[in-house]
């Protein structure tokens, strides 16, 4: 069977699966006794990550910059990780650069964060790398918040002006020497290249430098994979190509894990049901990496939800059901589009028994 024929067959199978989902959903609405809930953020957030995030935010609020500096210095080796293999360093900077603990929030007010982090820079004539990086990260988030959740074509001229002025400020913070020993430098540099009109060559070069310095930095792999979305810098098949390179570098189990992390990132933007059809990613390789992540780092609610979704896309009902049992009944709104989709379409297929 040719590759094209195989893709067509897979697409046909997916379409059948969708039809089955719809039919099952209709049946389910009449027969199901599963109570519908909409989980609160506190129910689905990772307690370890959230607790750590709030502790760091407390340190910042109290102005304990020495502790923050020491914490950052201890995290740059990337040995400390949370569920899903998430680097503690990433949670550290996200805690400093966002008002909440759920990552960037376009509705949030970022202005109150500017002074506390700015104070960190003013303490000494030679601020630590973490202070520069945290401020750059915050100002990039502050730039995005200028758009007030608007789509690109709805952003006003004044909002664009504010956006680019803030991006320039963020870039200015990264101009200081001695920051490349912190893996987060490469992460925020990638984002700022994207936000200031960088070219694909510049993006590739920055990732390459970061990857060579920190080959097991999973968030950097995920960030680069996000930039390979065709609506940003990529073209069809780039994400699969990139994931394959990780199997060779860093290779081994680390490479398999990185492959799965890239697939998880792809699952966030590749439209259903194309994740394993036109991207070059395979479910078999993804599944192997996911199993390693679970074994080494464990999975949180978000991870299990995402694994379940990916298994559903791959039409692997046993894997989807296994993942579902780990998070039931707390479906995660950041993975599934809405309650109706989850209860009426996904869940009936996942739990279907002949």
């Amino acid at each position: 069977m040719t590759q094209q024929a195989r893709l067509r067959l897979l697409l046909a199978l997916n379409i059948c699966a969708v039809l089955l989902l719809i039919a099952a959903g209709a049946w389910h609405r009449h027969t199901s006794a599963v109570p519908r809930i909409v989980p609160a953020l506190a129910q689905v957030e990772d307690p370890d990550m959230a607790g750590y995030c709030r502790a760091i935010q407390g340190e910042l609020a109290a102005g304990r910059f020495d502790r923050l500096e020491a914490e950052a210095a201890g995290l740059v080796g990337l040995r400390d990780r949370f569920h899903g293999g998430v680097e503690k360093l990433v949670v550290f900077y996200n805690a400093l650069a966002n008002p909440g603990c759920g990552g960037f929030d376009c509705r949030a007010d970022y202005e109150p964060r500017l002074q506390p982090l700015g104070d960190w820079l003013k303490r000494t004539s030679s601020p630590p790398p973490a202070a520069w990086i945290a401020n750059a990260w915050l100002w990039d988030n502050y730039a995005w918040s200028a758009k007030r959740c608007a789509g690109f074509t709805d952003v006003t001229f004044d909002q664009w002006q504010a956006f680019y002025a803030r991006v320039r400020t963020a870039r200015g913070y990264l101009d200081h020497a001695g920051l490349r020993g912190d893996p987060a430098f490469f992460l925020i540099s990638l984002d700022l290249l994207r936000d200031s009109g960088g070219t694909r060559q510049q993006i590739d070069a920055m990732f390459k430098q970061g990857h060579e310095a920190f080959p097991r930095f999973l968030r950097l792999d995920a960030e680069y994979a996000g930039l390979l979305d065709p609506t940003w810098y990529g073209k069809e098949g780039d994400i699969g190509w990139f994931a394959e390179t990780l199997l060779g570098d860093p290779g081994g189990e680390d490479g398999q894990i990185a492959y799965a992390v890239v697939a998880k990132e792809g699952a966030r933007y590749v439209r259903y049901p194309h994740l394993f059809l036109e991207t070059g990613l395979t479910w078999a390789k993804t599944r192997a990496g996911l199993a390693l992540i679970e074994r080494k780092y464990g999975n949180g609610n978000y991870d299990w939800n995402l694994v379940c979704y990916m298994a559903m896309v791959a039409i692997d009902r046993p894997a989807a059901l296994d993942a579902y049992r780990h998070f039931a009944p707390l479906w995660n709104p950041s993975v599934w589009p809405n309650a109706d989709y989850f209860y009426d379409q996904a869940l009936p297929w996942i739990t279907y028994e002949k």
């Binding site: 690109f152 001229f157 320039r168 200015g172």
Partner: protein, 359 residues
């Protein structure tokens, strides 16, 4: 072009020139009875006129036409009501960006029937004949389809020329001196019948002498000068540059800007300001300023100016155009809006001299 069509084209040449030379003057004095906001889009006006046609409101149509005939009523950007009036009667859609004739045309038969009824009433035969000539010219292009010339089938070509023949038949009855659209239509027909260059030029010269502010005529001639029509690369630049003196003045400036807005799609960025197209950025900038002063500029015009400034690497002008658009770019020539937001916008908004934002 097939042999029989070429022969037919030659036979039509005299007819077209005769039409162009006909002289009557029927200036209208009525104000437009159509209620719509000229700050709005021409599509609103187009839809009202089209509905009048479909409803058989011929008296209303004639009043609207007479009000538009003076070319004083214009939309933002300078497009005259008269141009949109004929678009409304003859094109398949009121909302197409470039008003192409390639989309489905569900009201084709109804419009054809109503236009014939209008002619049969004999209340304004000159305008009704022009509308029917324009209708069959648009229909000819619809029959041809939107493919490249080498993709058009012999049946499509046959349909094209049969409808052109119908258009020419009605064109025989029109008055090129009283209605600006007549000159434009005759020029388009001259091109489509492949008339000799000097005859095409003669039709154009007569049309622009009689109605120098009917800018559609300049656009039509601009396309005729392109290599894909004329087979020559030495016609566009001299024509573009001639507008500074003929018609010259504000009218020449407006014509120059409108032509830049049209031809930017025909030349890649590195050729737009070169010898091929003949545009010069300082003149483009000046021309748009003059046009803005006279007629204002719409979103489409500001976007074109933003693109033209970007190609010229005039950051301040590009930013000013973007400010006029309030940051909202709905289309971007050649590379699309994705490329605009990813690469062009950062360039426009970057400024080495501007201070970075501070807390």
């Amino acid at each position: 072009m097939t042999g029989w069509a070429a022969g037919w084209a030659a036979a039509c040449a005299g007819l077209l020139l005769a039409c162009a030379a006909a002289a009557t003057d029927a200036r209208a004095e009525l104000t437009s009875p159509v209620a719509f906001s000229r700050d709005g889009v021409p599509a609103d006006f187009c839809k009202v006129v089209r509905q009048d046609l479909l409803d058989g409101e011929f008296t209303q149509l004639e009043a609207t036409h007479k009000a538009a005939q003076s070319l004083e009523a214009r939309f933002t950007g300078g497009q005259p009501e008269l141009e949109v009036f004929y678009d409304a009667l003859t094109k398949s859609s009121c909302t197409g960006f470039f008003a192409t004739s390639c989309s489905d045309d569900p009201s084709f038969d109804s419009r054809k029937q109503r236009l014939q009824e209008w002619l049969d009433r004999k209340s304004d035969p000159s305008t009704a004949n022009l509308a029917l000539a324009r209708f069959w010219w648009d229909a000819a292009w619809a029959a041809r389809g939107c493919g490249f010339a080498n993709q058009v089938t012999s049946q499509q070509w046959q349909g094209f020329f049969e409808r052109l023949k119908l258009a020419a038949g009605y064109a025989h009855q029109i008055d090129a001196q009283s209605d600006a659209e007549a000159g434009h239509l005759l020029l388009a027909l001259a091109r489509d019948f492949n008339l000799p260059r000097d005859q095409i030029d003669a039709v154009f010269q007569q049309a622009r002498r009689r109605f120098p502010t009917y800018f559609l005529t300049y656009q039509e001639y601009g396309t005729i000068t392109l290599e894909k029509w004329s087979g020559r690369t030495d016609l566009t630049a001299p024509y573009v540059q001639s507008l500074a003196t003929d018609p010259g003045g504000d009218t020449g400036e407006v014509a120059y800007s409108i032509l830049a807005e049209l031809l930017l799609y025909e030349f890649k960025a590195d050729r737009l300001y070169g010898a091929d197209a003949g545009f010069a950025w300082p003149k483009v900038k000046q021309a748009f300023a003059a046009r803005e002063k006279l007629y204002g500029l719409g979103a489409r015009d500001w976007t074109a100016l933003c693109y033209l400034a970007y190609v010229a690497q005039d950051r301040a002008a590009a930013r000013d155009a973007l400010r006029q658009l309030d940051g909202k770019v709905q289309f971007w020539p050649f590379t699309g809006t994705g490329d605009f937001y990813l690469h062009v916008l950062p360039w426009i908004m970057s400024d080495e001299d501007a201070p970075a934002s501070q807390p």
